[in-house]
């Protein structure tokens, strides 16, 4: 059992979910309630990582992470670090790959809030922030929680993108899923088996909890 890899995976998953929490809420509200030109385009762009082979995403990220490419140069100017083979690069890749997992459940949840409820809040003189905190989030919380749980779980299991942009570097980019691949190739089936069982149990618990969450919501609202 590679505990460094487990810790790295947990850290990456938590950071991804935290970054996507505000990003997801803002985007999901926009898509749920606003009608504007290019809305369909934006929706499609956010969903496309869901169906894209990880190698395609990996390829474009690799090009973007190249030290001579503008994104990598900007990052280097800001932090002095590199995007390739670093946790920061992995986090950026993971945020992009997980956009649909965060936005879609939240969008469904915000769409479920009746318009007259929000209108009532405005008429009562609640500020936009108060409306969000006191009205919208309490109504949308199962979707928001589902989004965070799914993002967390999907990041724990991400393999292709991490393999392409991370490069299997111990304690920096060797996540649990990469460590399993690494151990399999080293004939260390015992370690690979233990880590696989951990990920299997974890993923099952996550999906199950999402279903429970969903069932509770349905039970209450309809």
């Amino acid at each position: 059992m590679d505990f460094d890899a487990l810790a790295l995976s947990l850290r990456l998953a938590a950071c991804t979910a935290l970054v996507l929490l505000p990003v997801g809420i803002a985007t999901a509200r926009l898509l749920a309630w606003s009608r504007f030109r290019g809305r369909g385009l934006l929706e499609a762009a956010l969903t496309v990582p869901l169906v894209l082979p990880p190698t395609v995403l990996g390829y474009y990220l690799l090009s973007g992470f190249d030290a001579a490419a503008p994104p990598a140069r900007l990052w280097h100017a800001l932090t002095g670090g590199s995007l390739s083979f670093s946790f920061a690069g992995l986090l950026l890749a993971s945020v992009i790959a997980n956009l649909p997992f965060a936005v879609l459940p939240m969008q469904r949840a915000f769409e479920g809030i009746a318009r007259n409820v929000r209108e009532a809040a405005w008429c009562s003189g609640l500020s936009a922030w108060r409306t969000l905190l006191a009205i919208e989030l309490p109504l949308a919380w199962p979707g928001v929680l589902s989004a965070m749980v799914l993002t967390f779980a999907h990041t724990m299991g991400e393999f292709g993108v991490v393999l392409m942009v991370g490069g299997n570097i111990p304690e920096e980019t060797r996540t649990l899923s990469i460590a399993i691949y690494d151990r399999t190739q080293a004939f260390d089936d015992r370690a690979a088996g233990i880590m696989s069982a951990v990920l299997l149990g974890f993923s099952f618990a996550v999906v199950w909890s999402v279903y429970l969450l969903d069932a509770r919501t349905r039970g209450r609202h309809g």
Binding site: A7, W141, I169
Partner: protein, 282 residues
């Protein structure tokens, strides 16, 4: 209007509700995980990129090194070509154990190394026949070449595993061997190419592969001991001289491991895994 809000059942509780607590708890957990100090302590072992043919040997050497010095090298395995490309892209490896001499030289030409490196071993290729393979020739003494030709032309050979010759030096040697035997064209569409030799060795154990061209070191690995192997004559392919090179940014621990690779303990381990050795240095 406010009545509409109040009438929505899930809005009624004004006190901190269980669900608010759940979201807060989840966010708090995530924040704790995200901010938890990275597990990398100061002064960790050197980061070493290792060609996959050394999978078993390098782990044994790393264990011996740790026992002797208390420093545990961190090993990343892959095909030499892929590892070299990672170094080119700026991967923070400190030492590169290649399966050939060409990739270290290319890294040197590109300015990624501290020096021209040093040869630490010479590998050998073997034809591995997994347990129950129908193409396994009867045990022969002496002429291994004839046994290999017999196996590779056997009609029962439907899948032959080897490493990708594009970026794995042992895959290159396997291709040269098949070309030497004038069998490359006949077998080309029956090849199963591993990304590196360790993956090819895994393929050899799937039961769907009747033979594999592998590094002798992997054919000797305990996990593969159920099958048989035949040494491929060394003159059928270009020699598999293996060079290692210290990379820019190599620390003191990486230099120590580099020197350890040339010392008696590592040499004994390499010899046990079937490698030829360069003359000992003083």
């Amino acid at each position: 209007m406010l009545g509409a809000v109040a009438a929505t059942p899930s809005l009624t509780p004004r006190r901190p509700s269980r669900r608010a607590a759940a979201v807060t708890l989840a966010t708090g957990l995530l924040a704790t995980l995200a901010l938890a100090p990275s597990s990398v302590p100061a002064g960790v072992g050197p980061l070493v990129a290792v060609a996959a043919n050394l999978t078993t040997a390098a782990e044994a050497i790393a264990r011996a090194f740790e026992a002797d010095t208390g420093i545990a090298p961190r090993l990343s395995f892959g095909s030499s070509g892929n590892l070299a490309r990672l170094v080119m892209r700026g991967a923070p490896y400190e030492l590169f154990l290649s399966a050939d001499e060409d990739f270290p030289r290319r890294l040197q030409a590109a300015g990624h190394t501290l020096d021209e490196g040093v040869r630490y071993a010479t590998g050998a290729l073997a034809l591995y026949l997994p347990p129950g393979s129908p193409v396994a020739p009867p045990p022969v003494s002496g002429d291994s070449g004839a046994a290999i030709t017999t196996a590779l032309t056997h009609p029962g050979l439907r899948r032959l595993a080897m490493a990708n010759p594009e970026h794995a030096p042992y895959g290159r040697a396997a291709r040269e061997t098949l070309e030497h035997l004038k069998l490359w064209r006949a077998l080309e569409n029956r090849l199963v190419l591993g990304e590196n030799v360790a993956q090819s060795a895994r393929f050899a154990l799937t039961g769907d592969v009747q033979a594999a061209l592998l590094p002798l070191a992997l054919a000797l690995a305990p996990e593969l001991s159920g099958g048989r192997h035949v040494d491929v004559p060394g003159h059928w392919h270009a020699p598999l001289h293996q060079r290692m090179v210290l990379l820019k940014g190599a620390g003191a621990a990486a230099r120590r491991f580099h020197d350890y690779m040339l010392g008696p303990v590592a040499r004994a381990i390499l010899a046990r895994h079937g490698y030829g050795l360069p003359p000992a240095r003083d």
